[in-house]
């Protein structure tokens, strides 16, 4: 239990430094540190699937961000924060936080997940654990859920990824940039 508080403090400090520092490279590295802290927390929560995904995505995004940072001339963050934007963000975050605390009171106790205690008649999670291997043949229950029972969600995720990659490569392609620079 203590390890989660230590990791949470680490992630919070890293996130605060990432937001507050003026140096762009330090900010990127602190973002990576926060991500790796999250990956360690997933690992200690016995969720290796998510931990592996988090680590590899964090590595790749860190490489891309550092590469982009190093290719820029200006590597410091300058400029004042707008007062109105800060107020709006704080109010929005506070309302989301208050709504979140209402939800947290209904969660099962930490370390006693729902799929270990709920009955299969009322909760689908226990049903997946009991019948997953027989119905899908997948030994990994996570794969059975995300690609068989909840395959529709994964298709939606894949569509979101496809659309975002399409938009990014259209906006960042060289032809578009050259065309923009040539324009008067």
């Amino acid at each position: 239990m203590l390890i989660f508080y230590v990791l949470l403090a680490f992630v919070l400090i890293a996130a605060l430094i990432a937001v507050e520092t003026k140096d762009l490279l330090s900010s990127v590295i602190c973002l990576g540190a926060a991500g790796f802290g999250g990956a360690l927390m997933f690992l200690f929560l016995y969720a290796p699937d998510i931990a592996i995904t988090q680590v590899v995505v964090e590595v790749l995004s860190l490489i891309i961000l550092i590469r982009v940072t190093l290719s820029r001339d200006i590597t410091t963050i300058s400029g004042e924060r707008e007062f109105f934007a800060v107020v709006v963000s704080v109010v929005l975050l506070a309302s989301v936080f208050l709504a979140g605390t209402q939800i947290f009171t209904q969660f099962p106790e930490f370390g006693a997940p729902l799929f270990a205690t709920a009955s299969p008649e009322t909760h689908a999670s226990q049903y997946y654990v009991q019948n997953g291997l027989e119905q899908t043949g997948a030994a990994n229950a996570v794969a059975a859920i995300i690609l068989d029972y909840r395959g529709y969600d994964t298709l939606g995720e894949a569509t979101v990824l496809f659309t975002s990659i399409l938009g990014a490569s259209v906006l960042l392609r060289k032809k578009a940039r050259i065309g923009r620079e040539d324009r008067p």
């Binding site: 290796p48 699937d49 931990a51 592996i52 995904t53 590899v56 995505v57 590595v59 790749l60 490489i63 891309i64 590469r67 982009v68 290719s71 820029r72 001339d73 291997l133 119905q135 899908t136 043949g137 997948a138 030994a139 990994n140 996570v142 794969a143 059975a144 995300i146 690609l147 068989d148 395959g151 529709y152 994964t154 298709l155 894949a158 569509t159 990824l161 496809f162 990659i165 990014a168 490569s169 960042l172 392609r173 060289k174 940039r177 620079e181």
Partner: protein, 155 residues
Amino acid sequence: MKGMTLIVKNVTRWVKILIFLFGVYITFFGHLSPGGGFAGGVILACSYVLLTLAMGRSAADENLPRSLAARLDCVGALLFLATALAGLLYGAAGFFFNFLHQRFLADKDTAFRLVSAGIIPVCNIAIALKVGASLFLIFLALSAFVPGPGDEVEE
């Protein structure tokens, strides 16, 4: 991008194969052990990112040209959708029906084998193709980042 020093290039020549194999392993065993298509695809993309950074853009272009990566992206997405739609041919459950397992493998006791779980490994491979190709495309788009009109264009 010209690539890095001779030491980095020599190390990369060996390590890239191991990273690629690890990505393939994570993808193919996604239904048996932790991992799956997304993580495997990101590791596959990482091997090509390493190749691009160490050897330069031209070496990466020989291995995986940009047009081929774009096509692999589309092939992955369409393979995933086709696997889902193929379930419609087998009646009742329809979309995303695990027909390979329910119709062909259910009575053969394939649990914990590599060939098991029906459409799940197929979907994993499709997602790995999609994620790997698209993240490599994003890396190419961002690593060719041009800071401004006056700066030299990297190539």
